[in-house]
Amino acid sequence: MSVADYAAENRLTVSGALVVLLVVAVGVALDLPGSRLLTVGMIQRSFQAAMPIALAAIGGLYAEKSGVFNIGLEGFMIFGALTAAAAAWLISGDAPISQMDLWLAILVAVLFTAVLTVAFAVLTIRYKADQIVAGLAVWFIGLGFGPFGATVLWGGVSSPTLKNVNNVVIPGLVELPVVGRLLFDASPLVMLTVVLTVLAWIVLYRTRYGYWIQAAGENPEALDTAGVNVNRVRYATVIFSGAMAGLAGAVLSVGLSSGFTGTGVTMVNGRGWIAIVAYLFGNYNPIGTFFASLLFGAMDMLQIQLQTIGIALPGSITGLFPYLAVLVVLTLFGYTRVPAAVGEPYETEEE
């Protein structure tokens, strides 16, 4: 490990510790009863709230590792959320929506978002579009066509109340103290997120393809010289990032909620942007990213917890915790060593 790497790791630890200290300090300052805040239910809800953030973040980190900054995650999440709700509603027809319909809908959302991402990938990779501007455009397109699609289908910017994915309860084991409810009465999507996180770590750091991805972002010329098509690697990661954002959106609309909400900035409500901060904070490591997402998920859930124990902070203020946390993280952590070739289109000599 080089000195620079070591410093980066340390900065992560230091700023992570600072964030936790800050949260504790605020808690002490406001005289919050810590034990009543940190309940099993709170942890469970934090994991759930972390899912969409972690899924989108892992996709985003793959794209950025390979040299393409996919700042359109928020937009792709909107498409994923709408598509999943629409698919569940259409697949079930007149019958009530079954659990199978919901899983099919999630699959449709992932595939549809991946197809949309192909256009983004072609524009940024082949036609060298400015990645930041194109990503913003994806957000605007989502903000427009998301509610538009909902209006065409349901006559309003939000869907009617649909169904969501049930928790998997394992009888017996669920009776265990603390871990019982955490592990054996959980949304299968939480499990899926954990599995995907670990898989993403293994692929990135323990397979040849993972090294290609890293090389595409750090030193594309060398990768090209080694006979690997840089842009093909980038297409794969960008499309993967869109698919993951689509999954994240689907998890929001049919996993956690029962349908699509298209009012304001839609139900995605900034989670795609928070996802970008989550993988920066996680230093592009899928596992670190997962824990960063968990931190933001916990911030998000703190408002419910404060309400349940009767601390009267207005919801409009506690709802801002995740955004404030992002600002604190970015200011403390700020500079991340982004892959060297991010943002630069790569052109092979032959073309």
Partner: protein, 358 residues
């Protein structure tokens, strides 16, 4: 896009708009509406009657101001995605200033003008200060301004909503609205008989565009701003502090966004309300600025186009039952295509048009 010729930029802007409208029409057809009716209604809604023109100009006024705010930052190499938040905070400062000073100042026309001037100054200061925050965070902590400004948009909306709901809405009302401004605080319509559009507002916007253009192109400070954004090392050799330039850029951009908030509060609303219900001028402004290649003067025609699209979009929402959100999607498509000039260069080359442009 800095190296492209003026003619080429113009062609790309037109081509992007047409392509986006074409895709919009295809989607309209695919969802079971008639594309020809859609386009003609869009045009009628924008310029078909005197009140439609007034509405277009009203939206354009807001888009010129917010577009200029975005353009200043982009020209200096900083992405200010927080214009919406700075606009919200600016308008709030205007509303608070006017509502708090109105009982102290004498009524009548003079009092009204004083209130509007003070309210506008408050907006410019507040917008500039709110934009300085992400500037400081970028310059001295390396925080990515795209993300910080977006977070600050959410925070501005939430905090302003909370303040209005908790402290500024009159007793006994459930809506999060402040009291109305005194009657003396209003801009006369002059040419158009419209309660929410005044030629004076448009004049302020045009003046702001010219002032910012002159500032960027004819003053040494403006020159430093642009060079430090695009040729940091060259600027550093001539003694320009890049960090300070980032903060200055954001502050100036936010001041213009704050001014937009003042015009919105005084000319359009006449009170202040939940920012979540406001039009997203700060986001559409990004499209306007990009279409104008971040030139403050070119922002004016681009804002007229988008103002027209916006007015037309609302019209089709009312009359054809085609959801007005479609137009927001079309605006997004325009941004997407403007981001990829290479797309048009390559297609033009393939079609044998202007192949020597490379």
């Amino acid at each position: 896009m800095l190296e492209a010729s003026v003619l080429e930029r113009f062609a790309i802007a037109i081509a992007s708009t047409l392509l986006a409208l074409l895709i919009g029409s295809v989607i309209v057809t695919a969802t079971g509406y008639d594309a020809v009716t859609f386009v003609s209604a869009l045009v009628y809604g924008a310029v078909g009657s005197s009140s439609n023109v007034a509405f277009t100009l009203r939206q354009s006024t807001m888009l010129i101001l917010t577009g200029v705010a975005v353009a200043v930052a982009f020209r200096a190499g900083v992405f200010n995605i927080g214009v919406q938040g700075q606009f919200v905070v600016g308008g709030f400062a205007t509303a608070v200033t006017i509502l708090f000073l109105a009982p102290v100042l004498p009524g009548g026309a003079v009092g009204g003008v004083v209130l509007m001037v003070l309210g506008t100054i408050a907006a410019i200061v507040a917008g500039g200060a709110y934009a300085a925050l992400p500037g400081l965070m970028k310059a001295y902590a390396g925080a990515n301004e795209v993300i910080t400004t977006i977070m600050l948009n959410f925070i501005a909306s939430g905090v302003v909503y909370f303040l209005i709901d908790a402290y500024l809405s009159p007793e006994g009302t459930s809506a999060p609205n402040t009291e109305s401004f005194p009657e003396s605080v209003a801009l006369p319509g002059i040419v158009f008989n419209s309660g929410s559009f005044s030629v004076i507002g448009l004049g302020v916007a045009l003046l702001a565009a010219v002032v910012v253009f002159v500032f960027l192109n004819r003053t040494s400070f403006g020159y430093d701003l642009v060079t430090s954004g695009h040729q940091e090392s060259a600027a550093a050799y001539s003694g320009v502090d890049a960090d300070r330039m980032i903060v200055s850029t954001m502050t100036i951009s936010g001041m213009v966004a704050g001014l937009a908030g003042a015009v919105f509060a005084i000319m359009i609303l006449g009170y202040y309300s939940d920012p979540a219900t406001f039009p997203t001028f700060g986001f559409d402004a990004i499209a306007v600025s990009l279409l104008a290649a971040n030139n403050p003067l070119a922002v004016v025609p681009a804002a007229l186009l988008f103002g027209g699209l916006d007015a037309g979009g609302q019209y089709i929402g009312f009359t054809l039952n085609v959801p007005a959100e479609l137009v927001d999607g079309v605006v997004g498509l325009i941004v997407l295509f403007v981001a990829a000039p290479e797309l048009f260069r390559m297609s033009a080359k393939r079609l044998g048009l202007g192949g020597d442009a490379e």
